[in-house]
C-alpha cells in the first residue's frame, strides 16, 4: 500500500471530524424530534404515560436543585452588585441607577441564564449519568423489548419537568439574586433600599424575554443530556464520557441560546429594550 498523499491526508483530517459532527447534529435533531413526539404521545388526553414519572421528575429536577440554585445565585448576586457599585461610584459617582438597572438585567438575563447554567451542570449531568448507565447496562434494550420507547418513557417526563422547573427556579433564583444584590448595595455602599428596589425600568417585554429564555434552557438541557446519554457505549468510561459531554454541551447550549435571544430582542426593540 502506498502512503496517502498530503492532500488525501488533509482531506481525511478535515473530513472525518466534519462527518462526525454532521452525524451528531442529525442525531441531536432526531432526539429533539423524538422527545417532542414523545411528549405529545404521552401527555395528550388519553395518552399512555408512566404513572408518577412527571411528579417524580419535577421533584428531582426542581426541589432537589433549589438549595444549589439559591446558594449559587445568592452569592453571585452579591458579587455582581459589589463590582457594579464599585464601578458606578468610580465612573459616574451616582448609585441611584444601580438598582433599577440591576433589576432589568436580572429579569431579562442574569436570573434565567445563571439558573440555566447551574441547572445545565446539575440536571444535565444527572440525566446523562442516569440514561447513560441504563444504556450500557442494556436497560434501554429491555424497555424496547417490552414495547416501550426509551425516549417516551424516560425523556418525555424529564423534558416537561425541566421546562416547568427551570422557569420556576429562574424566578426564585432571580428574586434571591436581586435581594442579595440589594442587601449588598445597602450594607457595603449605603444605597437606600427604597431607591434600590424600584421596578420602574422593568417592562413586560423584559419579563417575557426572561421567561422565554428560561423555557428554552429548560427544553435544551434534557435534550442535549439525553442525546449524550443515549450515545454512551462500553461501561463506566462510556457513562463518564456521556456525563462530561452533557455538562459541556448543555452549558454551551445555554450560552448560545442566551446570545441568540438577546441579540434577537435587541434587534426587535433596539435601544428601547
Amino acid at each position: 500500500m502506498t502512503r496517502p498523499s498530503l492532500v488525501e491526508r488533509a482531506a481525511r483530517a478535515v473530513g472525518r471530524p466534519a462527518l462526525a459532527a454532521a452525524r451528531a447534529t442529525r442525531d441531536l435533531w432526531l432526539v429533539l424530534v423524538g422527545v417532542l413526539a414523545g411528549v405529545i404521545r404521552s401527555y395528550r388526553p388519553g395518552g399512555r404515560r408512566p404513572p408518577g414519572a412527571l411528579l417524580e421528575q419535577l421533584y428531582v429536577i426542581g426541589n432537589r436543585s433549589l438549595v444549589f440554585v439559591a446558594v449559587t445565585l445568592g452569592f453571585i448576586g452579591m458579587v455582581m452588585m459589589y463590582q457594579a457599585c464599585l464601578q458606578f461610584s468610580r465612573a459616574i459617582g451616582d448609585l441611584s441607577q444601580v438598582g433599577v438597572q440591576f433589576l432589568r438585567l436580572v429579569v431579562s438575563d442574569f436570573g434565567p441564564t445563571l439558573t440555566g447554567m447551574m441547572l445545565a451542570t446539575r440536571v444535565g449531568a444527572g440525566i446523562a449519568a442516569e440514561i447513560g448507565s441504563m444504556k450500557v447496562t442494556e436497560q434501554l434494550d429491555a424497555l424496547r423489548m417490552s414495547g416501550v420507547l426509551p425516549i417516551d418513557y424516560l425523556l418525555a417526563p424529564r423534558f416537561v419537568a425541566s421546562i416547568v422547573m427551570t422557569i420556576a427556579l429562574s424566578l426564585v433564583g432571580g428574586a434571591i439574586m436581586y435581594g442579595a444584590g440589594g442587601l449588598t448595595a445597602h450594607l457595603s455602599f449605603g444605597v437606600n433600599p427604597r431607591t434600590f428596589f424600584d421596578p420602574s425600568l422593568v417592562l413586560p417585554r423584559h419579563l417575557v424575554l426572561g421567561l422565554l429564555k428560561a423555557a428554552c434552557y429548560g427544553a435544551a438541557i434534557p435534550v442535549v443530556a439525553g442525546f449524550c446519554g443515549l450515545r454512551a457505549r462500553g461501561s463506566s468510561e462510556g457513562v463518564g464520557w456521556a456525563t462530561t459531554a452533557a455538562v459541556v454541551g448543555s452549558s454551551f447550549a445555554v450560552i448560545a441560546i442566551d446570545f441568540a435571544l438577546s441579540v434577537g430582542a435587541l434587534w426587535l426593540y433596539g435601544g428601547e429594550l
Binding site: 441504563m134 434494550d141 429491555a142 424496547r144 423489548m145 417490552s146 414495547g147 420507547l149
Partner: protein, 253 residues
C-alpha cells in the same frame, strides 16, 4: 398469530457493520419452533450481537430477518412492538431496571401491555416462586446477588408466556451449584411452555445439558451447527478445540 412456516427465527445472509467494522457476515440460519439451540464461540465472536439481531434490537446492515415467517427487516420500533411482545429476553448484564423493585421489574412486561396491577401481582408471585425468589418482591435490584439478579431476569423474560426466549449468558459469573439450578429452571420452563429457546453461553458443558443443538460462531461468521450429542466429534477442528479447551489448534487469538 401463526406464521406460514414452522420456523421461529430465520436469518438470511445477515451482516452487521458498526462504525466501518464488519461484526457479523453472511449469517444464514433457521431455527424451528420449539427448538432448544445454544450459541457458543470465543469472546467477541458476535454471539450477543446475533441474539440482539434476532430480537430486532440491532437492525441488520444487509440480509433479512424473519420471525415466525414474517419478514420484519427494517420495521419501526412501533411496528415491532407486537412482535416483541411474544419474545422474552434475558440480558447479559441482567438489565433489571434499577428504579423498580423486583416485583415491578418482573411485572413490567405485563404492565406495559395494559394489564391491571391486581391481575399482575399473583402472576408475579407465581413466577418468582418458580425461579426461587419468593419473598424478594419488594427488594431493589441493587440488593440482590448476581445469581438472584439472573433469576429475576429470567422471571421477567418468561412472565408473559413468550413463544421465543433469548437467553444471553444465563450463567456467566455464577458458581457451579447456581449454574445447575439456572439450567434446571430453563429446562423446566421449556418443558412447561414449549417455547423456542436460544441461549448464548461461554460455558459449553452447562449449556449442553439444556440445548439439543449448538451453533458455533467464529469471527462474525456461523462456522458450525450440529447436535449437542456429537459436539466433541464435530468435523470442524475449531469446534473440537473450543469444546475441549485445547491450547493447540486452528483458533486464532
Amino acid at each position: 398469530m401463526s406464521g406460514p412456516t414452522e420456523l421461529a427465527v430465520e436469518l438470511d445472509d445477515v451482516g452487521v457493520e458498526l462504525g466501518g467494522a464488519a461484526l457479523l457476515t453472511g449469517v444464514t440460519l433457521a431455527i424451528a419452533r420449539g427448538a432448544r439451540v445454544g450459541i457458543i464461540g470465543p469472546a467477541a465472536a458476535g454471539k450477543s450481537l446475533l441474539v440482539k439481531v434476532m430480537a430486532g434490537l440491532i437492525p441488520p446492515t444487509t440480509g433479512r430477518l424473519r420471525l415466525d415467517g414474517v419478514d420484519v427487516t427494517g420495521w419501526t420500533e412501533a411496528r415491532l412492538a407486537p412482535v416483541r411482545a411474544r419474545i422474552g429476553m434475558l440480558f447479559q448484564n441482567y438489565a433489571l431496571y434499577d428504579f423498580l423493585t423486583v416485583a415491578g421489574n418482573v411485572g413490567f412486561p405485563l404492565a406495559q401491555r395494559g394489564e391491571l396491577p391486581d391481575a399482575i401481582a399473583p402472576k408475579v408471585r407465581d413466577r418468582l416462586r418458580a425461579v426461587g425468589l419468593a419473598g424478594s418482591e419488594d427488594k431493589l435490584p441493587s440488593q440482590l446477588s448476581g445469581g438472584m439478579k439472573k433469576r429475576a431476569g429470567i422471571a421477567r423474560a418468561t412472565i408473559a408466556a413468550p413463544d421465543l426466549v433469548l437467553y444471553d449468558e444465563p450463567t456467566a459469573g455464577l458458581d457451579p451449584v447456581t449454574t445447575s439450578k439456572v439450567y434446571d429452571l430453563l429446562r423446566a420452563d421449556h418443558d412447561a411452555s414449549g417455547a423456542t429457546a436460544i441461549a448464548v453461553s461461554s460455558d459449553v458443558a452447562g449449556l449442553c445439558t439444556f440445548v439439543d443443538e449448538v451453533i458455533f460462531v467464529y469471527q462474525g461468521r456461523l462456522a458450525y451447527r450440529g447436535p449437542t450429542a456429537t459436539l466433541a466429534e464435530a468435523p470442524d477442528a475449531r469446534v473440537r478445540q473450543f469444546v475441549s479447551g485445547a491450547l493447540d489448534g486452528p483458533l486464532v487469538g
